[in-house]
Symmetry: C2
Subunit: 275 residues, 2 copies
């Protein structure tokens, strides 16, 4: 690469770091890339670090020593995250979104990259300390959110299927009971999808009784995987006992009345410990 | 925002532009954000522009005048894209990936954000001039790719379902004939998913006879939408006449032999006009 002056170097390093979150990049890499001394690179990184902190983009972590380097960890403060989620909550709390059965139309939110990336960044911030290897979801609506989160964590996603299609090779299938409808359903995952002992973050767009999440946890047992967390975008109120606990949500539906078209929501359990 | 010096301003502008592709940002926005003169902002943008060109990240387009501003358009040259695709092709051309029925296991590739984002950037580069309003795919395996492309185009995605679930509201369903198996299948899309006259880019992970793509095109007729392009990650050889034409692929399977476990691939039709 041709020799760049500081400002150009900083533009390039910024994009490079943003594109490769959670990857340790040796300072030597940058110093060779730009033909610059490591001391200059360190100063550049300090400038970027301050901007990232100021703008709440995340942390630039510098690890010293021969095996050291710099790592960008996307992160948003829980206060900022709560503001983002509040804006979305207001948008979702619209009675025209209520569907039969106490469901809510929210695909428009879950399909907009700008919004989904915000949500993914929130989940990344909440779980990045847990050494997540994979983000897992079940088809279909949680996939964009799982992808966005995986992108910030820089790990692959795993998509559980509700049937077993021909194009996945041999699969492991389990039956599970949907918590709301009490019906027996099937979910399956390709044998090749997951190595043993993987650390998996389970994610879904919506949870009521928790049957689907429970199913994913049971499926992971078949793969000797470890569940490091379970999270959903929206959880609905559920009067009976849940099939899972410790699920963290961004939004909680307090009350939904399909007949009179009324709905009230609040921020979810992820924010419960914030004052 | 507190006053930043040039290098810090450039780090901040770089991240801001990268996060908001295809959005016109007035120079006034930056000059107010940093309390800097527009002339300084223009110089900053020139530096970023040169780095983005050097690194093949895309184009910074400056539009003059009162309604003007700057817009970041992610773009990769077709030569660079071909190199990326060649690397993936070599990885896919592995006989252990061959599944019964002439299918190929490629979920591991389609689930890695770093790879999928490269593919999304290629599709964005190929179609960004066509004023795409939505990127549409059918569940399940093409969703991450559609999301990545939509992210660079900065438009929402549309996910067609193979059944009609309760949580989508009223849906439009069509029957279509799967080109390979000749079976009648159903696909549906929520009424609310798409306004009339939208310009839609159709995308899928895999195409053989083209029945699924044909189905999506027929479905879009019901929404008075315009198909501005159709593209797939991998197309398989198909001896009979295709149900669709002008589908652009990144990779083409030349020959696949499930019995003897042999496979040959080449770069797809998107690259056909490159010498």
């Amino acid at each position: 690469m041709k020799k760049l002056r500081r400002s150009a170097r900083i533009a390039d390093m910024t994009q490079y770091l943003l594109e490769k979150p959670h990857l340790l990049i040796p300072l030597t890499y940058f110093s060779e890339r730009y033909g610059s001394a490591k001391s200059s690179i360190s100063e550049d990184l300090q400038i970027i670090k301050e901007v990232f902190e100021l703008e709440q983009l995340g942390e630039l972590k510098t690890l010293p020593g021969a095996a050291g380097g710099v790592k960008y960890m996307p992160k948003v403060s829980m206060e900022q995250a709560k503001k983002w989620v509040e804006e979305i909550r207001v948008g979702l709390e619209d009675s025209s979104r209520i569907l039969p059965g106490g469901y809510l139309y929210m695909s428009d939110y879950l399909h907009q990259p700008q919004i989904v990336n915000q949500l993914g960044k929130i989940f990344c911030s909440a779980y990045h300390g847990l050494d997540v290897d994979y983000v897992m979801t079940v088809e279909t609506k949680g996939i964009p959110l799982a992808y966005a989160t995986a992108q910030y964590l820089n790990v692959p996603i795993i998509i559980v299927r509700r049937d077993n299609r021909v194009t996945e090779g041999s699969v492991v299938s389990i039956n599970y009971v949907s918590g709301s409808s009490k019906r027996i359903q099937t979910m399956s995952l390709s044998r090749r999808a997951l190595p043993a002992n993987a650390k998996v973050l389970i994610m879904d767009d919506f949870m009521k009784a928790g049957g689907t999440i429970r199913g994913m946890m049971d499926l992971l047992l078949e793969f000797q995987a470890e569940v490091v967390g379970t999270c959903v975008f929206v959880e609905a109120e559920h009067k009976e006992e849940r099939l899972v606990d410790q699920v963290r949500s961004l939004i909680r539906i307090k009350h939904i009345d399909s007949t009179n078209k009324q709905i009230t929501m609040e921020t979810g359990s992820l924010f419960d410990n914030l004052e």
